[in-house]
Symmetry: none
């Protein structure tokens, strides 16, 4: 791709509707997409090349990071980004390649050390910041420690030092009624890093002992920044991300996108697109609430989220991007109330897209599209081709 890609003024807009794929409602037999009033999505479908994208492979349920990385053109199995790195990037931390990042939760333990609340009462972010200042006073031999607050009970721990290894298991047992686990080294080289991480946890527990609800920390997702080629480097694009949630902003930064300022709803996101439209040639817009409502198990609310998105599309279409792609990073059926493995509706509209006979943006309709069922990693080459940004391969 790097050899074939060329710079050109054409513009690509990639709209990812998080968790958009669904399953039929037991009463109506219709999925969330099939139930929603979505005249704009359907109109785009009629002018598009459609299909069903598999983020990873059939049967595999993607986390948000691999779901997005696949659409961005990366093999999601090869480039598996750790949770700690995602959190750190999400709040804009500048990491060195050797830094270890981990996601932390303030939690509540009882006198026996048993976890009673994994999210420490969802303390206010201000309280979180105060506790992080406390933890930043911790000194440990062999690593510089930095504790940075995120929202509510969430924080990021950065370990900076020589020869540290991210091959560390979580301390978070992922359920209440158990004690926090000792952090185990997953390889012999990680032994010293495990000692450092455990020493941090042990000192944190002491410093938090007078707190009522946030009196302990749980650590997970120890990881280093992966050595990932950037989108500007591979595709010669100047990409920008318009995302509300930190994690997606972090993912976008990881692959070399600039993160644009925006409001907290899709109308404001489209307005940000309009404002910065001349300055970039690739835009990733992330719409979150379809996934959130799916995870809530709220079918009707997910339908409403789709309708809210549909309402915002005319002002996006007014910009008339050379290539418009609308898809999701995975399915989140309300009936499952979690991410799922089902392939995701996809459509690509451009002057050169060779439309098919699909007349609706939904799981069943897109199956009959020109792309059939296909791996999401094919989306970026298709986007580039339709933007006439790829040279011919071979003589």
């Amino acid at each position: 791709m790097k050899k074939l890609s060329r710079k050109s003024p054409s513009k690509i807009v990639l709209l990812i509707i998080d968790g958009v794929g669904g399953l039929p409602h037991p009463e109506t037999g219709k999925t969330e997409l099939e139930s929603a009033k979505k005249p704009n999505l359907n109109r785009i479908a009629r002018e598009s090349l459609c299909g069903l994208a598999n983020p990873i492979s059939p049967g595999i349920t993607p986390g948000s990071a691999p779901g997005h990385l696949a659409i961005f053109g990366y093999d999601p199995v090869k480039y598996n980004v750790g949770r700690g790195i995602i959190e750190a990037l999400g709040i804009g931390l500048e990491l060195k390649p050797e830094d270890i990042a981990a996601r932390g939760n303030f939690c509540t333990i009882n006198d026996e050390g048993i976890i009673t609340d994994r999210r420490g009462g969802r303390i206010p972010t201000e309280k979180n910041a105060e506790l992080c200042r406390l933890l930043n006073k911790i000194g440990v031999n062999g690593a510089e420690i930095s504790v940075v607050p995120v929202k509510e009970h969430r924080f990021v721990l950065i370990l900076r030092g020589e020869n540290l290894s991210p091959e560390l298991a979580d301390s978070d047992p992922q359920r209440v009624g158990l004690a926090a686990k000792k952090i185990e080294a997953l390889s012999p080289q990680a032994q010293r890093s495990a000692e450092i991480a455990n020493e941090f946890v042990s000192q944190a527990r002491k410093r938090l002992q007078d707190e009522w609800v946030a009196n302990m920390v749980l650590m997970r997702g120890f990881s280093q920044r992966p050595d990932i080629p950037s989108i500007p480097d591979i595709y010669k694009l100047k990409p920008a991300a318009i995302a509300v949630y930190p994690m997606y902003r972090g993912l976008a930064r990881l692959v070399g996108m600039e993160v644009l300022p925006t409001g907290d709803n899709i109308t404001q996101q489209v307005e940000s697109l309009r404002q910065h439209y001349v300055d970039y040639d690739f835009f990733f817009i992330h719409f979150k609430s379809t996934d959130s409502r799916g995870e809530d198990g709220n079918f009707e609310a997910k339908v409403q989220a789709i309708e809210e998105l549909d309402d915002a599309l005319p002002s996006l279409l007014n910009l008339n991007p050379d290539v418009l792609i609308i898809t999701g990073d995975h399915s989140t059926p309300a009936s499952l109330a979690m991410h799922s493995w089902h392939p995701v509706p996809f459509m690509l509209k451009s002057k050169w897209c060779r439309p098919d006979n699909v007349a609706e943006f939904s799981e069943r309709a897109c199956l009959a599209g020109g792309m059939g069922r296909f791996p999401a990693t094919e989306i970026m080459p298709l986007a580039m081709a339709n933007a006439l940004k790829l040279d011919k391969f071979g003589a």
Copy 2:
């Protein structure tokens, strides 16, 4: 494939309609294939297994060589044949494995050495031959030089010698208004070869200095014959090619086909097929003008080319080949006036093909065929299976 293939008397005919895939006409919404009267192609489609073939992968636009190699069963990325080799094979040059071939253009430069015409006024082929005789007098240390005229302004340069490397960049800047580039070595081992190639160019410039239009040369596509297993070796076939254009004859030779004498239109090509039908068990017929008219951007002429081909099919069908495959090496939509990345209609007719519900040979109709969208490298195994020339795999 080599282990499973077996010799049998059944006959396979592979008809490649160059650049046959297209895009909808903005007024009618129909592609070139959908617009053409093609009763024979449609009749074959009704009796065939149909699909849409991807020559390389979604979004990637193939050159003619990779487009054909994929259909012949070769991974087109692994066996990337250089332009120089293609040109040399096209005019029937016998190359040794170590020979370096490059495509040359006679071009026009002004007094400052700036290119004003990359095709040197498309000089007559006779003039070209005269200039090549001049260039054949060039002597360079370390390589034997051979300059062979092709058509108009085109020639082939062969460098023969010990330890030569084809890892050389082009001197052709691919546009006017610039000077020819110095030929750069792309690896340390190619340093001496770069010096030899530059010495040739420098002497050629001197010998051409009194010419008015063809007063310089531009070189590109330095390459060696790839070490490619032959079709007779892999499939135990005795293959023949019936192609009008040199490049396709060269490609056929590269994979071990014999090139049959033929006329310059499809009726004569089918007549050649008839004459040699008993002597071979695999025939590749290449139909060029669909691609040429597509590259001209002439929608109606491409439609006519399809109709011309359709007219020639009854005499081909009279031979009643055991397996008949009709497809293209890539799409060349008239609206784009160039090769494109869109997948290509495919059909395979045989007594054993399990027909689908497709009733028309077109992009949209073939999408619903039994093969759906699939990689073109799967065509040869399908051909062999339908000719009952493949053993069962495994116990």
